[in-house]
């Protein structure tokens, strides 16, 4: 079994995939802590549908690197969702649902009507679940991914105290003179970036899992912010590594396998939390 994994690791594209996997997992898990605590888990879900829509359009136009279309579109939608969520006219959750379902429908429509390949359902499936794209990562993909992941981690490291403060109590932070609107804008942009990057790895439908599960697992077993943040990053990387290895050995789809291990980790943490009386 281990021999099989090692054999695969000799191929550069598999090593790329593992590297990208680790980096995306860390970034997504860190962000997930904020989103889950701020009750914004749904934003990730909504934006992944937007990214799917943009991906479909990009596929039809036949661009070489689709990220150039998908990233800006998703960033703009993230900002839109956050802005409308703050106004009282359209409720935040309704705004997310409208944008995400709309994008999903348009995306699928585009793929069908302007299909460039004969295998439409295969294309849709791989965009949604990231079936094969992970193994076709180019060096450019890996570099983009590395740069953005490192930026997210640095942002967390340097702004850790402010991130905690604003997440815990936005009103208090605002009253203390912290620019909470700028903070929310940065968070929106980061969410969008991570979702687009993670699409290559596990597909747009399963991205939410990568964002939500590690944070939820960590919250079952730890009760202070620092430990929750660190643990969710660690468990996220572990689940991704084990999931990727398992998918090689068992020949299962990568994204779904990773998410299965995330679910499993959550169950273990949940039971541990129950037993130790922490949650």
């Amino acid at each position: 079994m281990i021999a099989k994994i090692l054999e695969y690791l000799q191929y550069p594209f598999v090593r790329y995939a593992f590297m990208v996997g680790i980096m995306i997992s860390v970034a997504a898990a860190l962000l997930g802590v904020i989103l889950v605590l701020k009750r914004l888990s749904f934003i990730g879900d909504g934006l992944s549908h937007v990214a799917f829509g943009a991906m479909a359009v990009a596929a039809v136009t036949g661009l070489m690197n689709r990220t150039y279309i998908v990233l800006p579109v998703t960033v703009i939608c993230a900002i839109l969702i956050l802005k409308t969520g703050q106004s009282t006219r359209i409720k935040g959750d309704a705004a997310i649902a409208m944008i995400s379902v709309g994008a999903l429908a348009f995306g699928y429509l585009f793929m069908n009507v302007f299909s460039v390949t004969s295998n439409v359902s295969g294309d849709v499936c791989s965009t949604l679940f990231g079936a094969t794209s992970m193994l076709t990562l180019t060096k450019a993909d890996v570099i983009i991914c590395t740069v953005f992941s490192v930026l997210v981690v640095l942002f967390f490291l340097f702004f850790y105290n402010r991130i905690f403060a604003v997440t815990f109590d936005e009103d208090f932070s605002k009253a203390s003179g912290t620019d909470t609107e700028a903070f929310n804008l940065v968070i929106a942009v980061i969410i969008a970036v991570i979702i687009v990057l993670a699409m290559n790895l596990i597909g747009s439908l399963l991205i939410s899992a990568l964002v939500i599960f590690p944070a939820m697992s960590a919250m079952r077993v730890f009760s202070n912010f620092k430990s929750v943040t660190l643990f969710s990053a660690v468990i996220s990387v572990l689940c991704t590594l084990i999931g990727m290895a398992a998918s090689i050995v068992l020949g299962t789809p990568v994204g779904a396998t990773i998410v299965c291990f995330d679910v499993l980790a959550f169950l273990i943490c949940w039971i541990t939390g129950k037993l130790t009386g922490r949650s």
Binding site: N161, F164, F172, S176, M219, S223
Partner: protein, 235 residues
């Protein structure tokens, strides 16, 4: 207690302020001053606009009309604010120390991390409010009274001057409520100015020096004046 003449700069001056949502005002033409050493209770029914007024005073909401100005060396980042608890906080995984330390965020300015001085003064403040023993505990595991003490400690780290509290005793049982009022009174005696929204007329009258009542008609004055006014209404 230090009494200020009308000419002195008040800590907070509210002049002819109207508040509300959009263009619909819920309160019109509110004017009052808060001076150093005052203990102001803001009374009024639910929905009368107490919280919005408070948020307007500290710059979280914009008034439809009128101005709020700070004086006497008070700065926006020197206000100790104790907001109503949010749904988010109820199951938030944060230790007491982490929360109290976040009171210093206004002083971070361009710095990224808290200084050792700030970290040690957090210990002092926790000691003072009697929450040192629970400093490693998680906020979500505390009782309502302990949670309010933690949020009061955070507000204190942000200020040496003025505490602004939005119904800090709502949902607490009578004994814990009493303890909380005593604690606030101690801080008031040390010279900290207090502004508190309250439902509880009896305790408000007992501790405060000034009352702002935004009921059917707006009243602002000293507590004695308020009691006389009340007495007249009852006759």
């Amino acid at each position: 207690m230090k009494r200020h003449s009308k000419n002195d700069m008040a800590l907070i001056s509210v002049k002819d302020v109207s508040i509300g949502y959009g263009t619909n005002s819920i309160l019109d033409g509110i004017s009052f001053e808060v001076n150093e050493g005052d203990y102001l209770s803001i009374l009024g029914e639910n929905g009368s606009g107490k919280t919005t007024l408070l948020k307007t005073m500290i710059g979280l909401s914009r008034p439809i009309k009128g101005t709020v100005s700070f004086g006497d060396g008070l700065r926006k980042d020197g206000i100790g604010y104790l907001p109503q608890q949010t749904l988010i906080q109820r199951d938030f995984p944060a230790s007491v120390r982490e929360i109290v330390l976040s009171g210093f965020q206004g002083r971070l300015k361009k710095r990224l991390f808290y200084s050792n001085e700030e970290r040690s003064s957090v210990e002092e403040i926790m000691q003072k409010l009697g929450i040192s023993e629970i400093s490693r505990k998680s906020f979500r595991d505390l009782s309502g009274g302990q949670q309010q003490r933690v949020l009061l400690a955070r507000a204190l780290t942000a200020t040496g001057k003025i505490l602004i509290m939005d119904e800090p005793v709502s949902g607490l049982d009578p004994r814990v409520t009493e303890e909380f009022y005593e604690l606030v009174e101690d801080l008031h005696r040390e010279g900290i100015t207090i502004i508190m929204i309250s439902h509880d007329v009896k305790n408000a009258v007992r501790y405060s020096t000034h009352v702002l009542d935004i009921g059917r008609s707006v009243f602002f004055g000293t507590t004695d004046e308020f009691l006389r006014e009340e007495g007249r209404e009852e006759q």
